[in-house]
Symmetry: C2
Subunit: 577 residues, 2 copies
Amino acid sequence: MPYTAPLKDIRFCLEHVARTRGLADTPLFAEATPETVDAVLVEMGKLATETMAPLQRPGDAGCALADGIVKTPEGYKAGYQALAEGGWMGLAAEPELGGMGLPLTVQTAVNEMQASACLSLSLNPLMTQGSIEAFTAHASPELQERFLGKMISGEWNGTMNLTEPQAGSDVGALKTKAEPEGDGYRITGQKIYISWGDHDMTDNIVHLVLARLPDAPSGSKGISLFVVPKFLDDGSENGVKTVSLEHKLGLHGSPTCVLAYENAKGWLVGEENRGLACMFTMMNNARLGVGVQGLGTAEAAQQHALAYVTDRVQGKALTPADAPKTGAIIDHPDVRRMMMEMKARTEAARAICYDTAKALDMARAAPDEDRAKWAARGAFLTPLAKAYGTYTGMEVSELGVQAHGGMGFIEETGAAQYYRDVRVTAIYEGTNGIQAADLVGRKLSMDGGETARSILSEAEAEIASAQTPMTRNLAAVHEAAEDATQWMLAQNDMAERLAGSNAYLMVMSTLHAATLLHRGLRAAEAHMADDPDFYLAKIAIASYYLAHIAPEALGYAISAKLGSSLHYALTPEQMAV
Amino acid sequence: MPYTAPLKDIRFCLEHVARTRGLADTPLFAEATPETVDAVLVEMGKLATETMAPLQRPGDAGCALADGIVKTPEGYKAGYQALAEGGWMGLAAEPELGGMGLPLTVQTAVNEMQASACLSLSLNPLMTQGSIEAFTAHASPELQERFLGKMISGEWNGTMNLTEPQAGSDVGALKTKAEPEGDGYRITGQKIYISWGDHDMTDNIVHLVLARLPDAPSGSKGISLFVVPKFLDDGSENGVKTVSLEHKLGLHGSPTCVLAYENAKGWLVGEENRGLACMFTMMNNARLGVGVQGLGTAEAAQQHALAYVTDRVQGKALTPADAPKTGAIIDHPDVRRMMMEMKARTEAARAICYDTAKALDMARAAPDEDRAKWAARGAFLTPLAKAYGTYTGMEVSELGVQAHGGMGFIEETGAAQYYRDVRVTAIYEGTNGIQAADLVGRKLSMDGGETARSILSEAEAEIASAQTPMTRNLAAVHEAAEDATQWMLAQNDMAERLAGSNAYLMVMSTLHAATLLHRGLRAAEAHMADDPDFYLAKIAIASYYLAHIAPEALGYAISAKLGSSLHYALTPEQMAV
């Protein structure tokens, strides 16, 4: 599908919304000068447009499993090689290990473009990025030596093996076994939903597998992490078999495997029984990465729909007298509404995702005394980025189908593929319900609500900065979010918080997006003279979000504060027919 | 897929929410006694559960076009025959023509069950119902004699042929030609998106085709309606060729055809150049029918998800101390939230659809002096039923996918099929944007806002009837709807209304659903002693809607009143990258 990297929008978001310029002033990211970052973005934009975007539609034909090997769609291998050879797998990896050491913020912008261009293929580097992080943080020097360089170079891929049929959101229920043998372990068990669990694009695949040691404690405290390569050093097979591929709603280009481990040789990563903590290292950034998949899909679906509605002629539009007229269906007020909504929601998701990435970067790069604060901010924002980013992807791609009218329901159009592909992002890497639970549970409790209050304060500072109708819109959302936060913090019974968790997540996401877009709006006003066409557009989109979309938070805030009483008013039998 | 007809919920909605009992007191529907209606519902419930529901999953394999004939999925022909032989095609058709003459209200409940059980197959009788209506209202006695009986008996099917590649929402742009010849006309042109345009389930297919006579005025005033059978009386082919089938996102069991008419023999239905008016006869009720498809899908998706979450065990739920516990994931507060939301949204859609059907029935059955008022109400509520019903189907099936976690993305589960199938309902029979335009344009203007005000008054009467927290929730929505309606009526520039049309449709739909559910809540309280388990459930579900969902209208009301200024703040070039 045609896709143009929105470089100006991305630069604007980095510069004026997430305000990431300061990263280059830290010792850790001194290399990430604006010039370097921009060169990276331009290069990725080119690759996304020229190499990856043409793979989006062919990838929908899916993968095939034959003779135990997964065959990827036509063109994927070449597309992957372009990514690997361009050094894109190790963008954020440490330089001494062969990476470029760029901030997660830059990786996030790069991931957005990859997701827009071809979501299925982009999931592969995203998984490998997570593996690289986990290896860097937890693997012994020997294991790093053996596996890390080849993952960073893209010669080998990394996967995450958590889920088993009885152990999904409840990872602690897993049963895969690890028996000590020689310098390592023998792994036996079955894993499901393994994204890119097998394929024909790399020489080897490095599986990170959660399993139980003999006599390990039950539940999540008895889980250890192992690295299990598909092929051993001598090239022999290592007892990892692809049993089947899932037949999915979307993301057909990305093989979702059932993997059987039979006495497969593995090595321990990190400490015994601390596997879940190791896995969370990679899952946390992967959660942001999945939110960015939602963002990327939203951007692509918006571009795709815009192309259609500026081309398709149908009926005579009733437009306001002074409105620009094109003769195409974009003139119709409700089509306009859809286009503005798609663009505004996309920019809101971008703001949250990039701002989350910046916090996670600063948690590593800031002066020691500031790191905990940034880490807390990153931890608080991650569930917002994951859930709001993916909800945005769903909502915007849904509008993309609608904007196409009857054509939207026809697969050849491609609008439906965005709608299908993005659907899983609200589910994997922790369902959005799990994100909401994380927000009202761990993240709201970790510091007695201090980080939540800092998000509210940030909105207050924005509100104090201007006195426009848009500022008043932000103030209304802030008031609702303030109430909802106070209510949440006053609940000692966690079930009461959880009952309103999804609604509260929507309130805080909307507030934070509104704050960030208001900040961007002010920056656009200040820079207007430099590029009036562009900055006027930024103001209009931010205003659309603040005026038309942000008020959604008012309804959510009411729901967030109601607690669980109505949730449990019925028995399941009373709910059934 | 397993499906149980929710007969108690349907009866409750007919009796206490839409209050349809009075229909049997009218001369037109004197036969529709509660006993007869109930027997019909029970019979349909059985057929839906036993005969249609098993066709839902196999139908997803789709239809095939071979040798010019569409082959329907395994089992569809037998399923269709059961519907035809049971007399279900002519349920609402006039008795003197072979129908049962039952109210549209009963037809609506029947359609809901069919849609829940197998949406693809149910679209076939829905199309034929529309054809029967158009024939009854507009065709000459000779044409009625020739075609109507066989459509009512189900021996033949009816289709609607409006769309051409350049003429979708703008039907007036169509180009198909009709040349007079002998006692009829020769029709030539291409039609697209013809649902059930060809198939192997009946001996003949009766196409209703919009076309232009020679020298007809341009645009929508030069369109005439013709009946064009697939086969002529002597059994010979009539120049109607199935060119191709669309490859669609969903609804695979329902063949969507491109039909080529080449000198096909046709006969005029109604007057020359009045074809659009004739077609609207059938489209109006078809719009309600499509809203009911959304409702039916919502009900089925809710039942399907409930079965999963009451069976699946995963993690230990943090529930309130006094909540019922099952050990399955329905105990988790956010899963509960999803289940309550699915059920509450479904009941809201049912309330609006049944109430709309009642108004359309009363427009025919009420004493002469009352008919115009009922007709206006039916006309006003139809776009709400279509759009809110289908948005509900989308939203509830989306929650159905989410409630399944990873399994929701796997096609074999069936949750994704509901999500895919229902997506077209927001598009066909007039996109939901067209419904919103119809609401703020024709329907709000037809009587200077009188009908809109009567909907508001109905809410006021409910608000005056009780003083509970739920009543206050209704009052808040009413206030928002009152403001939005006043704003809309004050706009002379239709573009300003259209800019907020979708939001206004959501406000009025939510208000009316809230009013109807509040009414049902009061009835449940009054009848509590008869069946406490059931009536407590009705109260809980209505309360959930009023407390958690209805506040959505507050955000929509703000958006509805903003007009078009932000919509047109950008040129399409500024929107693009």
